[in-house]
Subunit: 417 residues, 2 copies
């Protein structure tokens, strides 16, 4: 079980979490719990580090920020004990959770689970701070912001857990953002690949790294809400959304939909370089400098220009990198040989995702027709194995998502569905 | 060097501390620094523990409260780095600082200093969180409130430090409380024994345990202020008060005073049991139950009663234990056979302390005459090797301290003395 910062924010909420944990143990499960710091605490600690030293040593930064999860793990153990559960905390350096030495963005290399398993078998709830580990140099490391999801999946893999339940402030993964589409349906199942595509395009329920790790290690992950605190005994039925492999899903979900979900990402910006010479190597002179500057380029479209031997190149970068990308490319104007740069920060990427998507043709055709019927202009298109994405005007984001949700027959027939 | 919570409260103050440390290093010293949590932080964490579980497991309590010093040690290392010093934090479990397993009140058993000494010899400032250690069971322990002074002395002993400088919010140890006597003088030297007597009777500059440890390990301790931040190069001259052995003091301070300091303690309460049968074992029936209830009895006076075969017994207990002591003794009324209990919570103990005190007679005579001249009534007297204490009415505390400070010739002749 993993609980995020909102669930751990203060004594009252920790008591609620302890109750959820206690009920799982009472139902006969051996339980390990991974916790985040109280909401706001990591920001407070990061701020202290910045004030101490703007160019902070990540090893000391880790000493400071890892304390937030240390506090909540001790407090959850204490609260569980108050409810009559045996419980103890296991800090990252105590297990230990081995990581590389890339402080502030470390990767987990392995977890010694022997003591943990013995403690759980003896009836103790194991409480483990997320986000932290230990380097070979015996120093505290942290996994980068949001790393507690990854900690939870890694612990679940290390102890061979039947399931990794990640409690959040939403009750599952939806076909699309319910704030945009009232008729969005909660998915009972989703595959790792679909979850990755949905996460990377804006449905930030889980940290992407944790989903990749779950896929690699075959950990069954459930996303569910920590704010549903009913007193019914827990069962093995799934109140949230279960994230599983494609193979398991085939056995579980007979009536699969073509499309699993629709995601929107407003955090995109478009650049067009006009009249780029249409010769070998021209594109490399554009994207080489961007890659060197660690700017991720997402969609790329090359249009045939009006004049022979020239072409317009359109591509997208994260909105936060737009100015940096533009400055870099202006410095390279001579080398690339383009005419001018047109930028647009007000674009959105809409993606339809589904492993059931046998061929893109049908999915794409439905998409283009539905958008065209509402006069929404498509500025760029890209596809992956299980996804078709289009770039549109940011103002039309919500309209596009609603139109597509209906077009693919995903609207819930009633609120309870 | 050790810095308390007030000195570590916030980025600005930590920068001031870092400057003090940097100047010591620049003067050619190898430096280890022990830090407290930010002022108020430990209270905040203790409060979380209480909310989680009023009967908290001290092992988990230690996990939570030790985080405060972890944060400040990382922040001081970061701040020192910002000033161009090499620095790193060494947490209690990293050195480790071995303690017994008495969680929340652990005792230090030893410190592995090898890595610490190597790091310091390589030019790194070692930053060590106070208050925390590691048990044989590989769990975090804490030393009890105020334990950081003890940590500092233990680290100084382990690395064979020339001196342990404890920076506080006062600039040294005074002949008496300067808030009571404006002419109180700062002492240049004081012995461990004197410091213990002064501390245990109310001059709470250092934690008593840390002074005992310094005496046992022969660590020279200096108390000085962290709020004097002059930019003059540090020298080996002593701006604060140096606490040393009796032997060292004889060499240092040729013109020793008879009396080193005067302490007042209002945290006392007096009980009188009247007409206790004057027979063997009677006193045991009074103090046995108090000892069993962990109530410390300090001064004891037995007066001959008016009637033959009976006596009045007067004694003092900590003010906080007065009601408990009274209740216990009332339950034992039959067994003890006294007539009635008279209690007085409004008393104060005034002590004159000094290793130079060759015999008590002269010191006591001066004391009694000076107090009598001002009409201050002495309710009880007790003496130790280096101390004479009297119990008086609490309202006369400040008057008595001023009168005695003058009587022993301790008043400063000018403010600079």
């Amino acid at each position: 079980m993993k609980f995020g910062g909102t669930s751990m924010a203060g004594s009252e909420r920790i008591r609620r979490v302890a109750n959820i944990v206690r009920r799982q143990q009472a139902a006969g499960h051996e339980v390990a719990v991974v916790v985040s710091a109280m909401a706001g605490e990591t920001d407070r600690l990061v701020n202290f580090c910045r004030e101490a030293n703007p160019l902070y040593d990540p090893a000391e930064y880790d000493v400071v920020v890892a304390s937030g999860e240390q506090v909540t793990s001790g407090l959850l153990a204490l609260t569980l004990q108050a409810l009559g559960c045996q419980a103890r905390s296991w800090l990252g350096w105590q297990l230990p959770i081995h990581t590389d030495d890339a402080h502030a963005k470390a990767r987990i290399e392995g977890i010694d689970s022997e003591a943990l398993l013995a403690s759980m078998a003896a009836g103790e709830v194991a409480v483990i701070p997320g986000f932290q580990g230990l380097s070979d140099a015996n120093r505290i490391t942290t996994l980068g912001r949001g790393g507690s999801d990854t900690s939870a999946v890694a612990v679940a893999a290390a102890i061979g857990a039947d399931r990794c339940d990640i409690y959040t402030d939403v009750d599952g993964v939806y076909t699309t953002d319910p704030r945009i589409v009232a008729k969005a349906r909660k998915l009972k199942y989703v595959t790792y690949e679909e979850m990755l595509e949905l996460a990377s395009v804006g449905s930030k329920v889980l940290q992407t790294r944790s989903v990749s790790l779950a896929m690699k290690e075959g950990v069954r992950v459930q996303v569910l809400s920590s704010f549903i605190d009913d007193d019914s005994a827990p069962s093995d039925e799934i109140p949230g959304t279960l994230i599983v492999s494609d193979e398991e899903l085939e056995g579980l979900d007979m009536e699969r939909q073509l499309i699993t979900g629709i995601a929107a990402d407003k955090n995109e910006a478009k650049l067009i370089l006009t009249r780029v010479p249409d010769r070998p190597g021209a594109v490399a002179t554009i994207f080489g400098p961007l890659a060197a500057a660690n700017i991720n380029v997402d969609m790329i479209i090359q249009n045939v220009g009006r004049d022979k031997g020239e072409t317009d190149v359109t591509f997208t970068v994260p909105g936060a990198d737009l100015l940096r990308a533009q400055t870099l490319l202006e410095a390279q104007k001579e080398a690339i040989g383009y005419n001018r740069i047109i930028t647009d920060g007000k674009v959105a990427k809409i993606s339809v995702v589904g492993v059931g998507m046998k061929s893109h043709a049908g999915v794409a055709a439905t998409m283009f027709r539905a958008l065209a019927d509402r006069g929404i202009n498509i500025q760029a298109i890209s596809t992956s194995e299980i996804k078709v994405s289009v770039l549109i005007d940011e103002d039309e984001t919500e309209l596009a998502v609603r139109v597509l949700h209906t077009a693919y027959g995903m609207d819930a027939t009633d609120q309870a569905a």
